[in-house]
């Protein structure tokens, strides 16, 4: 017997079959990984500025300027990838992952201690990027397969 006291879900409530609906209609894109790319861009820029502010006072300004330049360039690359991820999330996430891992490994080769500095943040970003990459690939391919199945056979050939 049905429990009459149970709350009736509203028509706009999310479910596995129907995600959250925005007032405009289309579902919001959650967990597409763009946030991780933007976070990386911000972290690189802020990290570079902080490094420059600390080290320029110590007299080693030449080195600090180079580090600032490199970190701002990396930030610009990540920002560009964040914009690209709106159009091509899979390609942008793959590139972000490669750039992120490459420069952190380079950092670790130069200064091995740096690998464990901020290790939690690095692991969170790495795991998030890998998960988002897989999601982006499966979503892209499912869209392609659905489009292929819904198209007439003549168009497919």
């Amino acid at each position: 017997m049905a429990d009459d006291s149970a709350p009736v879900p509203s028509p706009s409530a999310p479910s596995a079959a129907q995600p959250y609906l925005t007032p405009d209609g289309p579902p919001r894109r959650r967990g597409d990984g763009r946030g991780y790319i933007l976070a990386l861009a911000c972290l690189q820029a802020v990290g570079g500025i902080v490094y420059f502010a600390i080290n320029s006072r110590r007299g080693s300004q030449v080195n600090a300027e180079v580090v600032l330049g490199v970190m701002l360039a990396l930030s610009a690359i990540f920002f560009g990838l964040w914009i690209w991820a709106k159009k091509a999330p899979f390609a942008a996430l793959l590139t972000t992952l490669i750039v992120f891992v490459t420069f952190h490994l380079l950092d670790a080769v130069i200064d091995p201690i740096s690998l464990v500095q901020g290790i939690v943040v690095k692991i969170v970003i790495l795991a998030g990027l890998v998960t988002a990459l897989k999601k982006a690939y499966i979503a892209k391919r499912e869209r392609e397969l659905e489009a292929m199945e819904s198209s007439p056979p003549t168009a497919r050939s």
Binding site: I98, L105, Y137
Partner: protein
């Protein structure tokens, strides 16, 4: 009107899991193939996509295999203050060995890529001739700006020490990188990525990988990525690696010549 009413009721509907009986009474040896349900199709599709995604792992393994010798070389030079040219000699040798190993594994796919593009239009050869000129001008301009900012030494003059013959430098800096790097990036990676994304996206991803692996932030934006993008476009259009190898060789040879004659002090390639 139902099928029974319209007279087609003489052929009873076939029930699943029952043997099919032919018109003369013989029994079919195999049961009829059942259409997969929606859930089964979904699971099958997911498994297929998971298998496809393994290609990303293969791309990652290849990239990591190339990154290893380069990082080892950088670390060795940084920590032991060794001669960078000796490090480049050994690191480059290991890197080319790694690329040759992967190329051997992918030899079936690469075979068609080493065919001279006889039918390529004149426009392609004009681009091949013009690209190294533009990238070298970009490299020289970046070098000039870098020096004028008085930021710090980025000189790679020390790489090309007088102990090494210029011909050996041309072989190690112009010929071998052009051949092996193009085989790796435009031959193997570009092909693998084209199975996962569009050709344009694959071109961009390989161009950024190519730029990043050179560890030259200035060169990455100024001439490495543009050079790689043009190389990817040429490979895609001509279905041959030779135009890309040619522009890479001309770029590296021009940069090396300028370095040997003291033309400028920042270079990639």
């Amino acid at each position: 009107m139902t099928s029974e009413e319209s007279g087609s009721a003489e052929t009873p509907p076939v029930e699943p899991n029952l043997p099919v009986v032919g018109p003369s009474g013989e029994v079919a040896s195999t049961p009829p193939a059942q259409r997969p349900t929606e859930v089964e199709r979904h699971i099958e599709r997911r498994e297929r996509l998971e298998r496809e995604f393994l290609e990303v792992g293969r791309v990652g393994i290849f990239y990591a295999a190339m990154l290893g010798p380069i990082l080892a070389m950088i670390g060795w030079v940084y920590h032991t203050r060794s001669d960078p040219w000796v490090a480049e000699y050994w690191g480059g040798g290991i890197l080319y060995g790694v690329i040759a190993g992967f190329a051997w594994r992918a030899r079936a796919e690469l075979r068609g890529k080493f065919v001279w593009p006889k039918d390529a239009p004149l426009r392609i050869w004009a681009i091949v001739a013009l690209t190294p000129v533009l990238t070298v001008v970009g490299a020289a301009g970046a070098s000039y700006i870098w020096r004028s900012l008085h930021i710090g030494p980025l000189s790679r003059q020390a790489l090309y020490s007088e102990e090494w013959s210029p011909w050996f430098c041309y072989l190690w800096v112009a010929v071998l990188p052009a051949f092996f790097e193009e085989t790796a990036f435009r031959g193997i990676l570009f092909e693998k990525l084209q199975r996962l994304m569009s050709a344009r996206q694959a071109g961009w991803v390989t161009a950024i990988m190519f730029g990043v692996l050179h560890f030259n932030v200035l060169g990455l934006a100024v001439f490495l990525v543009p050079l790689a993008l043009v190389a990817a476009w040429l490979t895609h259009r001509t279905r041959s690696l030779w135009p890309a190898i040619l522009i890479h060789f001309m770029h590296n040879a021009a940069v090396l010549t300028l370095l040997l004659v003291g033309g400028f002090d920042t270079a990639g390639g």
